[in-house]
């Protein structure tokens, strides 16, 4: 496993990450309310860890924020005039049936990066995530950890201002988890707004700047990690942290 703690020398500007606002957002396809209504703003330094029991609406919240789903009511807005450049890393990485390098080149191509720059940028991203030796390996025969790192490398190559991660480490071994967490912190240090869901309390403690706690499709609590893990305000979060079953 290659260390990801390499010194940074790229050109992403270290400016405040764009802030995200949910205004009375509700998602109720076919009349079934699955999420909301809720309002909150993500404007702290982050990373924001989204926590909550199964079915609480964590993945829905990420998808609404990223624009994969459109809210039935309310609006998702970003600071600035237009939505910032975003990327998402899924629980099961979705990789094309081609080599690792070709996967990154494809992502760069659809983002209109000129052809002559693609290979160089792709190789750079692979190197950063310790995947140089796998450049020509078909993406789908990589190990679980390598696949997730490739998904992170793909996100990295697009230099997003916002990165969403949906339980990226839930199927990985400790070494692979460590690599993913290091990568997440790299993104954060670069000034990317990181929003990540997890079920792993230890992981949340390691990474979180603030915690958004969801339950029953609603935001029950949004506090700094410090407060959340020491003295959670909401009853739901208290029960969750105590390991009780929460609806």
């Amino acid at each position: 496993m290659t260390s990801l703690n390499v010194p940074l020398n790229n050109s992403i500007e270290l400016s405040a990450p764009p802030s995200l606002r949910f205004e009375n957002v509700e998602f109720n396809p076919f009349g079934h309310r699955l999420f909301g209504p809720c309002s909150f703003t993500l404007d702290g330094p982050g990373p924001t860890l989204v926590m909550g029991p199964n079915g609480a609406g964590k993945s829905l919240m990420l998808r609404l924020a990223h624009g994969l789903l459109t809210p039935t009511e309310g609006a998702v807005t970003w600071s600035g005039t237009s939505a910032p450049r975003q990327a998402m890393v899924f629980q099961t990485p979705v990789l094309l049936r081609r080599s690792a390098l070709a996967n990154l080149r494809h992502a760069l191509a659809v983002n209109n990066v000129p052809r002559r720059l693609r290979t160089e940028l792709a190789l750079e991203a692979l190197a950063r995530f310790g995947l140089s030796s796998c450049a020509d390996t078909p993406a789908r025969v990589l190990s679980g950890g390598e696949k997730q790192r490739l998904a992170l490398a793909r996100a990295w190559s697009l230099s997003p201002a916002v990165l969403f991660l949906d339980e990226p480490t839930s199927a990985l071994d400790p070494a692979a988890i460590k690599a993913v967490e290091a990568a997440v912190q790299e993104f954060h240090k670069q000034g990317t707004r990181v929003v990540m869901t997890t079920h792993d309390l230890h992981q949340a403690r390691r990474l979180a700047g603030d915690v958004l706690f969801l339950s029953e499709g609603k935001v029950q609590e949004h506090t700094s990690a410090d407060i959340f893990f020491r003295a959670p305000v909401s009853r739901h979060a208290q029960a969750y942290l105590n390991g009780e079953l929460v609806a």
Partner: protein, 232 residues
């Protein structure tokens, strides 16, 4: 001995009979060209139906699926009417030429390629959709990516189309006319020899045809297995 079909098939091949050679080459040319044209049209068509939602989409899918079973003689009749002297495309003078046979086979193969590729692309899209939207890809941009990533499945679809084209006799007979040296292909030759009572020759031709189809399928299988092993 001369009555044995295998002997006839073997001697046809060994002697490299000139008229047989011509028939085989024409058969392959017509069927391969038809499959090539049908794939160029059918794969994007299948992918488009998989990708876009539009009114009447269900009807298009049902029609494509149903047309997979289009009787060759009906397709042949349609093309015959189009290309006959009095028909709308009669001016082109294509009737009873290999061109007419290609057109008829394209009509037979196109629904197979479009319907099956629609299904394959839709399956793949289910897996890729969120990632594609996340990458900000338009539907038009998704199409080439999906077709390329479904390439192994599409090769099998292509072979199914080729099977239909090479085995087909009714349509090419009607629009080609089975003219010796011009539009005679393996299947029409078999029909002719059978009706003449030259059964060993007909069977021999049949064996040659089967061997050719097998060889093409085997080549495609080996190529795709090799590629699959490489790509995982």
């Amino acid at each position: 001995m001369e009555d044995n079909a295998f002997y006839v098939a073997l001697s046809l091949l060994v002697n490299l009979d000139a008229s047989l050679y011509q028939i085989v080459v024409l058969s392959l040319q017509v069927s391969l060209l038809a499959v090539l044209i049908a794939a160029t049209l059918g794969f994007p068509l299948g992918a488009a139906v998989a990708l876009w939602q539009f009114p009447g989409r269900g009807g298009v899918i049902v029609a494509l699926n149903a047309l997979m079973g289009l009787p060759p003689v009906v397709a042949g009749l349609g093309v015959y009417l189009l290309l006959s002297r009095a028909g709308p495309l009669g001016e082109l003078g294509l009737l009873f030429t290999p061109g007419a046979m290609v057109i008829a086979q394209v009509i037979l193969v196109l629904p197979i390629l479009a319907a099956l590729s629609r299904q394959k692309v839709e399956e793949l899209l289910g897996e890729y959709r969120e990632q594609f939207v996340s990458l900000g890809m338009s539907r038009a941009r998704m199409m080439p990516t999906l077709l390329w990533d479904a390439r192994f499945a599409l090769l099998t679809v292509l072979l199914a189309g080729f099977g239909r084209a090479s085995a087909e006799v009714g349509a090419v007979m009607m629009v080609g006319g089975n003219i010796d040296g011009v539009t005679r292909v393996m299947t029409t030759a078999i029909v002719l020899e059978t009706s003449k009572g030259a059964l060993p020759l007909a069977l021999g031709l049949g064996i040659v045809l089967l061997t050719l189809v097998m060889a093409i399928n085997a080549t495609a299988y080996i190529l795709s297995e090799m590629a699959k092993r490489r790509m995982g």
